[in-house]
């Protein structure tokens, strides 16, 4: 008797080089890299400074803070959660480090204290999300306010000086001009990609975001993994706060305001799905770079800053539409489908 539902599956075969090439082509990352290269090419035609190595380092340096948090946000989005509090947590971590240092502590202790505060914020958020069963949107919306309020309480609204011993993090350059923060960023991206795709933790995150019930019955500690994901983004936001504040040597209470949207934009442009399960750290890196290149291009070409804001919005929407198309979710817009729709009288 033949199969009523499925045609006989193709025999298992190793993937040929062509398959691999096709798979690479279909990846979000490749498309994004293509867009960045194209954009860079156009900009460099108009302003030859664009391709100077120090400008490229510069572009990277401007995206480090958003990019580092986007690494964490990708994990959070893959776990089907969201973190809106990152901008405030960044500031809280930075001013904590600044004021711990100001109270006489060792600069390194101050730095660790700042990063730890970020982790604690993530822990609190994760705990409320998991134990209180409140959507992470709400919890982190609350944390956005709470952390900012704490930041201002800590500082009284005034900038805190950061230890000059740490200024190499934000300002230092090594190997003939590569900014230290860029190296930290790239290392984190590589570690993040490894963590996501090559460790038990990363696969657990994918599992809980993709199918919570299956993960649960598969024995994955769903709650703990979810909490750890928030701790991870908290720590990364804390680190981003340190980088941000050592760039200029002061931690400001209003640092990072509004960054949540930039961070989410970078992760989503990089292929992270708000419905969980899918995302790529390299993609988030490229997403952050795309935003950076766009901003840099506007500066280099001395275009109106208003156009910049407008086009970043467009890029976000277009990236999401492109992703839907790539996933085959826009077939209802194919000419055949539309023809049927209209012929049937609607």
């Amino acid at each position: 008797m033949s199969a009523p539902t499925v045609t006989a599956p193709a025999p298992p075969r190793s993937r040929s080089a062509k398959d691999v090439a096709r798979a690479v082509f279909k990846r979000q990352e490749t498309g994004l890299l293509g867009v960045i290269i194209l954009l860079g090419f156009v900009v460099s035609l108009l302003n030859s400074n664009f391709l100077r190595t120090d400008n490229l380092y510069n572009v990277l340096q401007t995206v480090v803070v958003v990019g580092v948090i986007a690494v964490g946000q990708t994990f959070v989005l893959i776990a089907k959660e969201i973190d809106l509090s990152v901008g405030s947590v960044l500031a809280l971590s930075a001013v904590t480090a600044g004021s711990v240092y100001g109270s006489g502590a060792n600069p390194w202790i101050a730095m660790l204290a700042g990063i730890a505060v970020g982790g604690v914020c993530g822990l609190l958020v994760g705990t409320v999300v998991v134990i209180g069963r409140v959507s992470s949107f709400i919890v982190t919306l609350g944390m956005l306010s709470i952390a900012r309020g704490l930041t201002q309480l800590v500082t009284g609204g005034l900038p805190q000086s950061m230890p000059s011993e740490l200024s190499f993090i934000g300002q230092g350059r090594v190997f003939g001009g590569v900014p230290v923060s860029v190296i930290i960023f790239i290392v984190l991206v590589l570690l993040g990609q490894l963590l996501l795709t090559r460790t038990v933790f990363g696969l657990r995150v994918t599992a809980i975001g993709d199918n919570d019930a299956a993960a649960r019955t598969g024995g994955i500690p769903v709650g703990r993994t979810r909490i750890l994901t928030f701790v991870l983004i908290g720590l990364l936001a804390g680190l981003a706060g340190i980088i941000f504040s050592t760039q200029v040597g002061v931690a400001e209470a209003q640092a990072g305001t509004g960054y949540e949207l930039d961070v989410i934009a970078a992760a989503v442009i990089g292929g992270a799905s708000l419905s969980g399960g899918r995302g790529s750290i390299i993609g988030a890196f490229l997403g952050a770079c795309l935003l950076g290149v766009l901003r840099n291009a506007f500066i280099l070409l001395a275009l109106s800053p208003f156009l910049q804001q407008l086009s970043i919005g467009l890029v976000i929407v277009l990236a999401a539409l492109f992703d839907q198309g790539r996933q085959g979710n826009l077939r209802h817009l194919s000419p055949a489908a539309l023809r049927q729709r209209f012929l049937s009288g609607r």
């Binding site: 539902t5 075969r13 090559r198």
Partner: protein, 513 residues
């Protein structure tokens, strides 16, 4: 209960579990013998899946004890159960779509190994290939490096099965493992089951495909309404007896009552006007389907799960694309662009899963009237008084047991929710009613009530009813006329006077040509 000579691998005593008002499992005591295949039988909602969840650590029983190989156990999580050798293949394959087959096969590793450990994905692929080779199932799955999101429903089910087999179970529960497998694939699965049996594993098989079940079981257990009914070997509890035990007595009485009536109905309907006609309808999942539905007629559509019945119904109401053929409503060709248009043409549809049809956060009244909102007031307003009156009238007419129409829908039992869905569809006074699995998860008594309501409406008001059902008995009992779908094509269209045999034959395709 009957004793078997084989020792029990897993015994349960006094097991009970309720979900709010629903007592899914009530005080069940039974044993699954080692080295045997036990058929766990019962109607939809009898509590089979719940019993399995209680045995495998997915749910905690309200009461009762579990004894595994003579030792009392209590599983805090599925992982603990698996470690003790109790493994489940679920009714719905529980897979992570974004991971590969290999990752899913070794999913339990993720729970067992520390979070910081390396994931060994490459190694897993090699292990998976080896595993499939050992089980002789290599041909039934694509390469283990494939993402599960790309798999067909059957392959997904297969992955779940292979995963269970890889855990070297002592007790293996198969909860409708073959519901989306072909006969050939089931056979392959059964050969693995036989091998496990030879190794002394207690295999528990849940399936509504009784013929397949009885081709392999050594021992049969029957549940009804969450209680233990009988156990014995298949010579003792043969297929007919099992069906009788599963159904209980009330239902028998209803069946007996209606067989006589049907002949009149069939004769009567023969000259009634055609309410809905499908002419060579084709689309994704079905092809060249033609049949006519007359006023006052109850048409039962049978077939194996996955035969494409849902697709046909959805195409008719405009929820799916049609690639060929026509739909005629009241004799006139109709272009049905969507369910809203279908409703205007007098066709009401109730989709197959209750879970996807109920508005969970709303009241009973809302659920009853949501399809007739525009008739409840002028200019797009909805009068509260008229809504209430309509909702009360519907609860009364369809015998929905509810405290008030303001009660949340979730406070109703499953059967009453099903009645609400039916009442909601009928509230718009349709001429044609399409029901997909109208009694899934409905208890025997309610089922009888629903059947009676449908007959009454058809035979006295001339409503044309087309229902899709996977339960053979339901089709035999309720339908005036039967159509059978196999692989997306109609293989039988006949009055329902010849009993179940021709239906089974047409569904399985054994007497084809």
């Amino acid at each position: 209960m009957t004793t078997t000579e084989k020792p029990a691998a897993l015994e349960v005593a006094g097991l009970a579990k309720s979900f709010g008002a629903v007592r899914a499992v009530r005080d069940v005591s039974l044993a699954f013998p080692a080295g045997q295949v036990t058929g766990l039988l019962g109607e939809n909602g009898a509590g089979k899946s719940t019993l399995i969840r209680l045995c495998s650590g997915e749910m905690r029983p309200d009461r009762g004890r579990l004894t595994l190989a003579g030792q009392e156990v209590s599983f805090g999580s599925p992982l603990e159960a698996i470690a003790a050798g109790v493994v489940v293949v679920h009714q719905e394959p529980l897979l992570i779509s974004e991971l590969t087959i290999a990752d899913n096969l070794f999913l339990y590793d993720l729970g067992e190994r520390p979070a910081y450990a390396a994931a060994r994905r490459g190694e897993n692929v090699a292990r998976a290939r080896e595993l499939l080779r050992d089980l002789g199932m290599t041909d039934y799955l694509p390469d283990p490096a494939t993402l599960c999101r790309e798999l067909s429903a059957a392959s997904r089910q297969m992955v779940d099965i292979v995963r269970a087999l890889s855990r070297q179970p002592k007790v293996l529960f198969l909860d409708e493992p073959n519901s989306s497998l072909t006969h050939e694939e089931s056979e392959r699965l059964f050969s693995v089951v036989r091998r496990l049996r030879a190794d002394g594993v207690a295999v528990v098989l849940v399936s509504h495909r009784l013929a397949e079940v009885f081709s392999i079981v050594d021992h049969v257990i029957v549940l009804r309404d969450g209680t233990f009914v009988a156990a014995g070997d298949p010579t003792e509890i043969h297929e007919q007896r099992a069906v009788a035990l599963m159904a209980g007595e009330r239902k028998r009485a209803v069946v007996a009552e209606t067989v006589a009536e049907r002949r009149d109905a069939v004769a009567h309907a023969r000259d009634a006007e055609v309410a809905l006609e499908l002419a060579n309808l084709s689309g994704e999942g079905f092809a060249d389907v033609s049949f006519a539905l007359r006023r006052g007629e109850i048409l039962g559509m049978s077939g194996l799960v996955g035969a494409g019945r849902t697709e046909i119904a959805e195409a008719v109401i405009g929820a799916r694309r049609i690639s060929g053929g026509r739909v005629l409503v009241g004799g006139r060709p109709a272009r049905i662009s969507g369910p809203g248009r279908a409703q205007k043409l007098g066709i009401a549809y109730v989709a197959e899963e209750r879970r996807t049809e109920v508005f969970h956060a709303q009241t009973v009244g809302y659920n009853l009237t949501v399809r007739i909102l525009s008739t409840l007031g002028p200019f797009g307003f909805v009068s509260a008084r008229r809504t209430n009156a309509a909702a009360r009238e519907l609860t009364r007419r369809f015998g929905v047991k509810t405290a008030s129409t303001e009660a949340p829908i979730t406070s109703l039992s499953g059967g009453n929710q099903q009645k609400v869905l039916l009442a909601r569809a009928l509230a718009a006074k349709p001429r044609v009613l399409i029901l997909d699995e109208p009694t899934r998860g409905v208890d025997v008594g309610t089922k009888a009530e629903i059947y009676a309501t449908l007959r009454e409406l058809a035979h006295t008001e001339g409503l044309a009813v087309w229902f899709i059902s996977s339960e053979l008995e339901e089709v035999v009992e309720l339908a005036d006329r039967v159509v059978v779908v196999r692989q997306g094509r109609l293989t039988l269209d006949a009055p329902n006077t010849a009993g179940p045999q021709p239906i089974v034959a047409a569904a399985m395709g054994s007497t084809e040509g």
